[in-house]
Subunit: 432 residues, 3 copies
Amino acid sequence: MNATLVSELYEQLDMIPIVDIHTHVDWKAPTARHIGDILSYHYYTELVNSAAFQHGSFPFDDPEALTRIIVENLPHIRHTVQYDWLMAISQEFLGIEPWEWEPHHADAILARSAEIMGDDAWFEEVASQANIQRVYLTNQYDDDLEGLDTSFFTPCLRVESFVLDVLKPDARERMAAVLGRPIRLPSDVTALIDGTFRRFMEHGMGYAAISSPAGLRTFAVSDQDAERILRSAVAGNALTSADREAWAAYALARVADACRTYERPFHLMIGVNRDVYAHGVPSGTDLFDSVNSMRGYDWLLNTYQDVRFPTAVLADTTGLELVAAAWIRHNVYPSGHWWYANQPTEIGRELRRRLDTVPSSKLVGYFSDAYYLEFILPKFRMFKFELASALADRMERSLVHPNMTPFSMDDALELGHAILVDNPLRIVGHMT
Amino acid sequence: MNATLVSELYEQLDMIPIVDIHTHVDWKAPTARHIGDILSYHYYTELVNSAAFQHGSFPFDDPEALTRIIVENLPHIRHTVQYDWLMAISQEFLGIEPWEWEPHHADAILARSAEIMGDDAWFEEVASQANIQRVYLTNQYDDDLEGLDTSFFTPCLRVESFVLDVLKPDARERMAAVLGRPIRLPSDVTALIDGTFRRFMEHGMGYAAISSPAGLRTFAVSDQDAERILRSAVAGNALTSADREAWAAYALARVADACRTYERPFHLMIGVNRDVYAHGVPSGTDLFDSVNSMRGYDWLLNTYQDVRFPTAVLADTTGLELVAAAWIRHNVYPSGHWWYANQPTEIGRELRRRLDTVPSSKLVGYFSDAYYLEFILPKFRMFKFELASALADRMERSLVHPNMTPFSMDDALELGHAILVDNPLRIVGHMT
Amino acid sequence: MNATLVSELYEQLDMIPIVDIHTHVDWKAPTARHIGDILSYHYYTELVNSAAFQHGSFPFDDPEALTRIIVENLPHIRHTVQYDWLMAISQEFLGIEPWEWEPHHADAILARSAEIMGDDAWFEEVASQANIQRVYLTNQYDDDLEGLDTSFFTPCLRVESFVLDVLKPDARERMAAVLGRPIRLPSDVTALIDGTFRRFMEHGMGYAAISSPAGLRTFAVSDQDAERILRSAVAGNALTSADREAWAAYALARVADACRTYERPFHLMIGVNRDVYAHGVPSGTDLFDSVNSMRGYDWLLNTYQDVRFPTAVLADTTGLELVAAAWIRHNVYPSGHWWYANQPTEIGRELRRRLDTVPSSKLVGYFSDAYYLEFILPKFRMFKFELASALADRMERSLVHPNMTPFSMDDALELGHAILVDNPLRIVGHMT
């Protein structure tokens, strides 16, 4: 690593505003109230549960107790990127230095953080200090969007409800309440999808999104088959796995229909296995399967050729498949680095693969997946540092590589800007 | 990267002549007529189709229009290795500098290229400038080989026709025309295989080769079973997937029989899924599957212990499997870096794995997969640069590694020569 | 690579004593008698068999002949890490320099080695020179442990016999001899497991261990089902693969029961396919399958939440799965770098992944898998060098990374000590 060059590049990239195309921020409570909210993020509870078993249980209702438990166990994770995010938040936003993070300071840290984060202008301060331009949200079909500030937030529709949950009675009841009639036929589901898209579009809808399990397959399913399956579910019958698979394929296509109609992208997040770890903390029970391929998506990607599919993959083993898909498929856009792949080793490898072979205008750089606005800055810093490293490597090799002409600092920053802002806004945001 | 050391090593490796053990060069038209031929290579059409969707369609019959479309869209791929290949061709062979590649120069570039490439001595010039010693071809069983210059070209037999296509009527008709009688029995197929090997041997045959799909399995299939399956196909029946799988395994063994008889290697290229992308350009519709292993080849590799199997894998996920196979199996030779894996990230990783654990005498360095002779130089440069990087790393670590004695420049170049020339000629070419 | 910093770090790590948590050392003959023993290690015979085919056969009973064959073929593997191990042994323990390893010196090398290694104090010399603190063994249930020096050796129980072999008659007979009655019912197997644990505990038992094939699945199996399967095997019936799978799951749970009762860890080594290469040397016929996941272990890991599972994976494709499991699961500990993954490329990548995201108190650094004590030093050197590289990278990035505070030499060494000694002793050895 050429530290000087990486630093120079990083400083420039750091000045580029942040467009965060996927978060779990709650627009009604976008920032933390105190450090206890920050520490309740599953990245900390799960690591502490892993290092010093808590039976998956933390005192989420008691910020003082929660803070104390996490702080006591910080020494176990002092060398992780997750710890680095926390320290960046602590230093940048709260002015609390790493050496202060000692158990006997836990209460004081909590109190100080509550004071600072309780400021009326806290949201504006964080957004401004982190230079955040736009934040995409994760919303359910029944989320309230009235009053959403669309100059900053973009609502995005998660569609697991239609694809997976609708086969369960309680999920159908919740949907029926929104639709105004029971969910009995596929047309009820498509009506709900369409109505939801229409409502979201009024609030500047970004895209539809799904996180899908390993092994998901898409294929053409007739309305008749879909009707039979849904009727069977409504009748309370147990469904075969083939029926569940067929419904998922059918519903995915109906969502893609709506994406086509409303000209919105369909954001795929491929390969999570939910509820795998029996003793985990909330949001800390999911893993992935290295045995997973993108082949199951061929039908969807081919059939909806006019829909854009920004795509993130969870397994490292799917990384080159995604690169190859983005390399030849016109409607696949490699998008960010997700969850277990969101750390320097995977980011560094995937970035280099993507930069070397995928059209630069198709690269969607990064998303934070953050629950609070405060996490956006440290996570983007992590990505920007890896991007700076990859660009610095390219600058250095270009000077001696027999096939290359010099790749200049300006070239690097132009590419960085495309990846960080221009492409996300154009591809995901339909803004030019 | 120690740029000085890498450059020094590269300069030395660059002087080693090129033995290109796998290309798609047409020996009757081995070079491009003009830049339009170069730009019609699927690496450019597919990237342009991906970045600026053309519905998979380009004016291949109109070099001016084709050239204009590609040149207009070059900015999308200016940071890719594929672009670097093009610029290397442009600068080295045509004297056209990168800055000239502007849309308003497209016609002029085409005209100039046609003039230069139209020279009677063009083939000799390219071969000499690129220092190409030998080029292996990809030939069908009915390719005309009369007049082939065997001092430069080595014909190699692709066997998909026998293994996969023979189950289709039109493929059998084409084969019947060569065999002189209808293809009705397995013995007809083996007669055609044998006759083809005999004819190829008269023209200095290199090897038999197949590119195989993910999940292919080899196992013993009786003549009786093979006869039943082929008769069923000839009778026009639809075959089960088990029957297709059995026929493929049977026919692969018959090709391996011929390899044994004629003492030729069997080049395996493992893991391509054909015709996956519905809107792709010609040769730009294939992808791969990360879920694929070499286990299906155990039977073939064990049974034909006296046949050499130079092997390339398409999926990054099969890379270490290939290394492990070459590490213990005497007849598996890791061979080059194929297609989506033919870029710096994968080459760098696989090279290091191979150099660290596989006998040096078994490493078959690289092949270009080129359609025109002009592509051989830039592609080998890309590989040689990665090889120089890997060797430079080794030289540097050897000076401080507790288990290593100094790995000198001479050691590095000896190893490089083995990988680039000696092994390919000995293992693939049966030349010593 | 910052060679100066890596060297400085390595020198410090080199002084840390070795705790080797998995070997195949025979405690009654822990060191080699001469270089022929060293060269009979499958890492050398398999590479020579691979480079210069010997039909899997070597004169193991004739050290002179064996030594000559290996030495003659050393040029094929001069660039491998396996060769580097040999040279380290040669220089460090025998004072024989690399240049002496010529065919005409083979007899002399053998003679000299026999003299040196025949010294009565050889074991102590090797252990002292390599600074080995403790060596974990691999033992079968019927291994003799009387007289074992538990201040240096820790016996560990391999359980394939109970999980896989017990379905074969000759394995049951061998077990019956130990149990004192025929193996007819699951309770006979559990009695043998329990008796074995009790006996091993008297000799300072380390852990139970299994190396498992790709695709293994764990799930609840009733005693009734297990009894039906075992009775069927005893009756000489052919078992279905479902029955074999169910028995394996049942027996694994019974071993885990004993681990729980005796508070011992269960060491998982995941993903080897045995007897794949038909022409291999002893211990040189096994490979792995890149298509393998840890999903099959969910039930075991969840059910035995109070049992520790140090885990090694063979496939590179399972590496991030293991990291993710260790990241959230409290009872999974990434353990070493196994076999085909035990080389710099994989070690370097996995180490960085683990250091960046897994609690530092859960990382079990390395094991040698050695058959003779002499191999421990060079293998640990290889690992320590990669660890020094990873730590040096971290020190360098910490100086310029926007999220990091300086990672000092002391921080690096503290982390190194945890990984190399503290964690292995605490997690695997239950020593604090």
